[in-house]
């Protein structure tokens, strides 16, 4: 039975762990012919012991999914210390110092026998598994306990792995966010400009309208025109803010069907001023009827923006009138969507081509080297790929490819 348990958990992806633990507990309860089994995990600070999984034989009181640390402090402390607890006859065997526990079992149904096995990973106790029997008295012989310890280990390893994966995902998300904030810095000039323009016009039009009214003899239609323009420009500024706010949003991953052409146009619009300021001419070569892609809008825009900023950086030493950046979209018969950013700058040194997308790899003084690594991370989380090549004339082209949503064939 242990072999079976082990085999189930060995390569389980993080998302499947919970389901299988529940199932595993059920297996144990049935196999041992007991009535209840629960798994509790310590919180990261060790103050809480939360029952996260439980299986109870139908007809018996299920174990509450609560933090048992305040209810059973003595018990929790023992588990925390890694001490195995064996009770054959409850509630008699509860030691006098376990005051809370005595009180609890005065009010609640108590199993006749209980076994608690702490499980560790390395040197830290992650939690414990408890086994309870209502119908019969069990004296928990040593070899049984030994086998149950092995079972506990299997659960522990799965849980530990899941925790690590979750942590990694959280970190990756933080990194993506941090990179986005730093990209915002690149957009700062654009943002300021795009908001300042309509504001300037509003101030001027308002002054003009007042002047017209103060003059006594005025054409109402002209004053109305001025006010109309003020309103329009106010909305223009508002729209810019909305777009920027959208990029700053820390909302969790939102997957939707996206039109990459639309995303590209939005990004180009957002950094239009910055590109102009840097003397970069942006050209678009977008193909019609691009298949939709399932993905997170903001993350994919982040990739496009990053590639465009890199392209502009690469062309810093190119003569001002000739800094050309081309964004292209394409598709193939398998409905894959290709987006490429091409520049005519310094190109890729063949020595670096293997490491371009590595973390901390950069050719820029003061660069952190995370931009492309994050682009790769985002692309891959969208089940896509990203690659780079040197152009035959000059400069480089960075392309990312994402699977398009397949049409339903009726």
């Amino acid at each position: 039975m242990l072999a079976r348990l082990s085999a189930t958990f060995i390569n389980l992806p993080a998302t499947e762990v919970d389901r299988h633990i529940d199932r595993g507990l059920q297996l144990l309860v049935e196999y041992l012919d007991i009535d209840r089994s629960s798994l509790a995990e310590f919180s990261e600070d060790g103050r809480q012991l939360l029952v996260s999984h439980s299986y109870t034989r139908p007809g018996f009181a299920p174990f509450p999914r609560v933090n048992i640390a305040p209810l059973w402090p003595w018990y929790t402390a023992k588990i925390w210390q890694g001490e195995l607890l064996r009770f054959t006859r409850l509630p008699d065997e509860i030691p006098p110092e376990a005051v809370h526990e005595r009180e609890y079992f005065g009010r609640n149904p108590v199993p006749q026998s209980h076994l608690a096995i702490p499980f560790k990973v390395g040197n830290s106790v992650l939690g414990g598994i408890g086994f309870g029997s209502f119908r019969r008295v069990i004296d928990w012989p040593d070899d049984l306990v030994k086998n149950l310890r092995v079972a506990a280990e299997i659960f522990a390893n799965a849980l530990a792995r899941r925790r690590a994966e979750e942590k990694e995902t959280r970190l990756r998300e933080q990194l993506v966010l941090a990179s986005r904030v730093s990209l915002m810095g690149e957009l700062a000039a654009s943002i300021v400009h795009e908001v300042n323009q309509p504001l300037c016009a509003i101030v001027s039009n308002a002054q003009t309208a007042r002047r017209m009214l103060a003059g006594g003899e005025f054409n109402l239609a002209e004053v109305d025109d001025a006010l109309g323009d003020i309103s329009r420009d106010g909305q223009r500024a508002s729209a810019v803010i909305s777009r920027i706010r959208g990029l700053f949003n820390k909302a969790p991953l939102e997957r939707a069907a996206l039109d990459l052409n639309e995303l590209i146009r939005e990004v180009v619009n957002l950094c239009r001023w910055e590109m102009t300021r840097r003397g970069v001419v942006v050209k678009l070569a977008l193909v019609d009827h691009l298949p939709s892609v399932q993905g997170d809008r903001v993350q994919l825009q982040q990739v496009i923006l990053n590639l465009m900023t890199n392209a502009a950086d690469a062309m810093e030493h190119v003569e001002r009138g000739r800094r050309e950046l081309t964004v292209r979209s394409a598709t193939d018969r398998a409905r894959n969507v290709f987006v490429s950013v091409k520049d005519c700058g310094v190109g890729i040194d063949p020595q670096n081509s293997e490491h371009l997308f590595d973390s901390f790899f950069t050719t820029k003084p003061g660069g952190m080297g995370m931009g492309l690594a994050i682009c790769k991370s985002i692309t891959e989380s969208h089940h896509g790929t990203i690659c780079a090549s040197s152009n035959s004339d000059r400069g480089s082209t960075f392309t990312f490819i994402l699977p398009g949503i397949q049409e339903n064939v009726l």
Binding site: S204, N205, Q207
Partner: protein, 213 residues
């Protein structure tokens, strides 16, 4: 032409700003024309009417400084009032050195803009007047015969007719006659007047000979 109503050219690719500036300047009674790009503006014929340009320094395509240069090449030295956004200060200093009238940063005050535009128009008006005067003077000088021109050159140095006669080997009476014709053709009211005209027209004055006893 100089008394024709002045005209202001507004060049800005941003329709909001361009619209607002055009509206304001029209509301104070000026003739205004708006352009969405420097290229468009440079295609317009510039006549000798007092005018000026209100120009955004950082528009895509040909930039403000290029416009300045292009106008100078065509001898249309229109004064330019630059509007600038954030971070354009170094370019503006550059523009100022190259002869721009003024620069205003966004958001600008309408009154400030008007003051700058009026000043620019006034500058251009005076420049056109000076040019006009100069061309009139030049025409008058051209109407003089070579001899008359020679005489005029000596007259404005303050030499007496007798001295001029000796210098040119011609009798005094002839010099007097030439002098009279010069004053007439140049429409000078006095010697002082003639001297001013000669200066303006850039007439080369002969060097005084070492005094002979």
């Amino acid at each position: 032409m100089i008394d024709a109503p002045a005209i202001v050219f507004v060049v800005d690719d941003d329709p909001s700003i361009r619209g607002a500036v055009v509206r304001f300047l029209k509301s104070v009674g000026l003739q205004v024309e708006g352009f969405g790009s420097a290229e468009e503006f440079l295609e317009r014929q510039i006549h000798s009417i007092p005018s000026c340009v209100v120009l955004d320094v950082c528009i895509p395509g040909i930039d403000g400084l290029e416009v300045q240069r292009s106008l100078a090449e065509r001898n249309a030295n229109l004064p330019i009032v630059f509007i600038t956004g954030h971070g354009d200060i170094p370019r503006c200093v550059h523009a100022m050195k190259a002869g721009a009238v003024d620069f205003l940063s966004k958001p600008f005050d309408n009154q400030e803009l008007l003051a700058a535009v009026r000043s620019a128009l006034s500058t251009h008006r005076h420049a056109l007047q000076r040019e006009n005067e100069l061309s009139i003077l030049r025409r008058r000088v051209e109407s003089l015969s070579p001899r008359e021109r020679e005489v005029m050159a000596f007259v404005v140095t303050g030499m007496l007719n007798k001295q001029i006669g000796r210098r040119l080997g011609v009798c005094e009476k002839t010099i007097k006659a030439h002098r009279a014709r010069v004053m007439e053709k140049m429409r000078a009211d006095s010697l002082a007047d003639l001297v001013r005209m000669a200066e303006k027209a850039g007439i080369e004055v002969p060097k005084p000979l070492v005094c002979s006893p």
